[in-house]
């Protein structure tokens, strides 16, 4: 594995026996003392402080900012989950899911993880950012009482952090739930990212490995869209659906309301996608025309269409303008060959998890 742009895991003796979210401070901050999570003051002089743990770690000092949130595992290891230094912040709120996607990057585990939702709420309240925070799973809307309780906690602290929730959308097939969800979330901007992998159930249900999923997701998309919930549609091209990418985009933009944007995402070689890679992954050069057709629909419908996770050297130059630097910095890398590429500044690079990375430096004089 190549080195990530922003390391996020550290070890700190003093945090043994602390489990859950911790707020990292660079100096005492009495104004934060009413907030619900333990404080870790990173201070060279190690003065004692009654309400906080005080310790010194030059690496954490370098890679964390005052107010960042880390997750402690109770054995001294911490992972920074919300950082002002990060290019994107995302919280995992559950590992349970009602789909079992062949390319799942975060495969579900049957464990009691209800506490994750509470940790997420505490972290968001303490971090108190006005930049968007991603909520992912598992399926965040699977346990309906947890999601409503989550919003209740945020409301109690008058938190208004905008949220992007990644969901399979199946829960929205229930109109009463959809209505209650919108009502519960209304104090903040919420956008739901919902993947749609096909125009028919045959391929979608195969990819998410669950019969009936497409019908639920489509009905959910219709309901949520009609009730005005902003929706980002996500499409992942695979061997099974790469021929219908533009058809999926066209169907979504023709039929669904409240679509804010469409993101076409290159496969990430992690989780279950690792073992299913050969069955799923198709090189972009097989479907560049299809990407072109899909992206051009953005102009026609007046909706932004973006390409996520595509290194520029895997695309045609006509597609560069749709490509986003989308890979989170803690799992983002540029192999050494990229240093010879004239497009590096504009490029989103690679996942650290990708095996046999194919780099084709651009503009190189051989």
């Amino acid at each position: 594995m190549t080195k990530a742009l922003r390391p996020d895991v550290f070890y700190l003796e003093e945090l043994k026996n602390i489990f859950g979210p911790v707020q990292i401070l660079k100096q005492p901050a009495p104004e934060l003392s009413n907030l619900p999570i333990p404080k870790l003051i990173i201070d060279r002089n190690s003065k004692t402080d009654e309400s906080s743990t005080v310790a010194w770690c030059p690496l954490i000092d370098k890679w964390a900012e005052h107010g960042d949130i880390a997750f402690a595992d109770g054995r001294g290891k911490i992972r920074i989950v919300l950082s002002k230094k990060a290019n994107a912040n995302t919280l995992l709120v559950t590992e349970q899911c009602d789909n079992l996607c062949h390319f799942c990057s975060q495969p579900p585990r049957k464990i009691d993880d209800k506490i994750l939702f509470a940790f997420a709420a505490q972290s968001i309240v303490s971090f108190n950012s006005h930049h968007v925070i991603g909520i992912s799973g598992g399926e965040p809307l699977l346990d309906q009482s947890s999601i409503f309780n989550f919003f209740k906690i945020l409301d109690e602290f008058k938190n208004k952090t905008p949220l992007h929730i990644l969901s399979n959308g199946r829960a929205f097939k229930d109109k009463a739930f959809t209505k209650r969800f919108i009502e519960s979330a209304k104090l903040r901007d919420v956008e739901i990212g919902i993947p749609l992998y096909s125009t028919s159930s045959r391929i979608h249900d195969y990819l998410v490995n669950k019969e009936g999923a497409w019908n639920d997701t489509v009905k959910g998309l219709i309901n949520a869209g009609n009730m005005g919930l902003p929706i980002e549609i996500r499409v992942i091209p695979t061997k099974q659906n790469y021929c219908e990418i533009s058809a999926i985009v066209e169907m979504a933009l023709t039929c669904l309301n409240s679509i804010t944007r469409i993101s076409i995402m290159n496969l990430e070689q992690t989780g279950w996608a690792k073992k299913n890679w050969n069955n799923l992954y198709v090189k972009p050069d097989k479907y560049l025309d299809e990407l072109e057709n899909a992206c051009q629909l953005g102009n026609r419908f007046g909706t932004e269409i973006s390409l996520f996770n595509y290194p520029l050297c895997h695309l045609n130059s006509s597609l560069y303008k749709y490509s986003k630097k989308s890979i989170s910095d803690w799992k983002n890398t540029f192999p050494s060959n990229c240093n010879y590429c004239v497009e590096k500044e504009q490029c989103g690079g690679f996942f650290t998890s990708t095996k046999n990375i194919e780099v084709k430096p651009l503009g190189q004089i051989l």
Binding site: S200, S201, N215, I222, G225, N257, Q296, N299, R300, F301
Partner: protein, 467 residues
């Protein structure tokens, strides 16, 4: 897909035998012939897998498993279309004066002479006019001055601009002055500079037709308008001037002259439509020009314009583009004439020189011709409104349940025009087999499907979408 179910479709045979199909989602597909249509939808004997796949993507057929969801997707798309037509903004038209220096043969509103008194909107009504506008629409407002000749009442426009600017700020409105430009002067241009004000003017098909129909007593109307377009374009910018072309039965072979005129002026857009059959124009001109004749002219015109585009010269004909946008479900595809429910009073409103409020410019024309008082919604002075007739007209302007529209392949791209049909048939729906409105728009849609069979032409229209 082993077996499939058919979703509801409408269809229409084009002149060359090809068959256009569409559904409630306003998605289209062209089948090679009627037999193919029957094979797919009647006998289910079609074995062209690729075609069936496309038809499945486009919500024309579905597997049994997906049928219910596909029906819901279709109805969701249908509601999305209606929603778009309901939410699009209102065009607010103001007639500061009915006086005019031209004597156009096809004038729809019965203008009065330039020196006649009693046909101007008084400046003292500006506060109540602004209040009315704020009451009926959210900013940013698009306000268009119509006439008569608005430049005869330029001081009214200036005063209105100043008061509106004070009330809501420059970012919240834009003004268009629909004018023949014969009275444009250096001081007017200087005053408009740097303001959110643009001009819309008329160029008819060729010098001969223009001068015949748009008569000026003292000057050559055609030369005057060309010179003044150039002046505005030079001093205020090309984006501050747009043209509209009214086609009569004069100049039907002068399509090249029309395009050349625009190219010479450096204009990138045209808007070309047949003489309207409203108000006073109906008697004088419209009956003389059949839609068939118009289409013969229009097709020659469009082919010339497409040739220009093919040679790298971007010129857009906006009447065609608006129809194409409707067919493609494209953003910005809202046009008062192509809406269901109609644009009348919902997306347009006109305040006449005496303060009377109408639901559209056409309603004013019909009122003036027939004295149909019921078309007056109210007056900005009294602030009492009677929407009874307008509501009735709008209720009858959803085209999905109207005879001949309900089974038309273009139903969801087209619109309805209750005022035109009220005038022609005495009621808002009318007989579509005799309707000029229906014939015109259907012909344009047919023409588009004829055109886009050439990928070259389709590419140009797609480029226009993105322009």
């Amino acid at each position: 897909m082993e077996d499939y179910k058919q979703l509801p479709i409408n269809f229409r045979r084009l002149n060359d035998g090809k068959t256009v199909i569409s559904n409630l989602a306003n998605i289209f597909h062209v089948l090679p012939n009627q037999k193919c249509l029957e094979d797919i939808f009647l006998h289910k004997t079609c074995s062209d897998k690729e075609l069936l796949e496309v038809l499945e993507h486009k919500l024309f057929i579905s597997s049994t498993d997906d049928f219910e969801s596909k029906v819901q997707l279709t109805t969701s798309a249908f509601s999305k279309g209606i929603n778009k037509d309901l939410r699009s903004p209102k065009l607010i038209m103001v007639v500061p004066t009915l006086r005019c220096d031209h004597h156009c043969s096809y004038c729809q509103v019965s203008r009065v002479n330039a020196d006649q008194e009693g046909f101007d909107l008084s400046k003292s009504h500006i506060p109540s006019l602004i209040k009315f506008i704020q009451e009926i629409e959210k900013p940013p407002y698009k306000i268009e001055f119509q006439g008569g000749e608005p430049l005869l009442a330029f001081s009214f426009i200036q005063e209105f601009y100043n008061q509106l600017l004070m009330a809501i700020g420059a970012k919240n409105f834009s003004l268009v002055i629909a004018s023949s430009l014969s009275l444009i002067s250096e001081p007017i241009i200087t005053w408009c500079k740097g303001k959110n004000i643009s001009f819309s003017t008329s160029i008819d098909v060729g010098k001969r037709a223009h001068n015949k129909h748009r008569k000026l007593n003292t000057k050559d109307s055609f030369e005057t308008v060309l010179a003044n377009i150039q002046r505005i374009s030079n001093k205020l910018g090309k984006d501050k001037i747009g043209t509209v072309t009214t086609v009569t039965n004069d100049g039907l072979s002068d399509h090249n002259e029309l395009v050349d005129t625009h190219i010479a002026l450096g204009l990138r857009g045209l808007f070309v439509r047949p003489v309207s059959s409203y108000g006073f124009a109906i008697k004088k001109q419209a009956k003389d020009l059949s839609i068939e004749e118009f289409m013969q002219f229009y097709k020659k015109l469009i082919h010339r314009i497409l040739r220009e585009n093919l040679s790298g010269h971007t010129i857009i004909e906006h009447f065609l583009l608006i129809h194409y946008k409707r067919i493609m479900n494209a953003a910005g595809g809202t046009y008062v004439d192509l809406m269901s429910p109609a644009g009348y009073s919902k997306n347009s409103v006109l305040i006449d020189y005496n303060g009377n409020i109408f639901g559209s410019d056409e309603a004013r024309m019909v009122y003036r011709k027939y004295g149909a008082d019921e078309l007056i919604i109210g007056n900005i002075k009294s602030r009492k409104y009677d929407l009874k007739l307008s509501e009735h007209l709008l209720q009858h302007s959803f085209n999905d349940d109207i005879p001949a529209c309900s089974d038309c392949v273009y139903q969801n791209s087209c619109g309805s025009d209750p005022i035109y049909h009220l005038q022609e048939f005495g009621e808002p729906i009318g007989d579509k087999s005799l309707s000029r409105f229906c014939e015109l728009h259907k012909s344009i849609f047919d023409f588009i499907f004829e055109l886009i069979q050439s990928t070259e032409h389709k590419r140009i229209l797609d480029r226009w979408l993105n322009d």
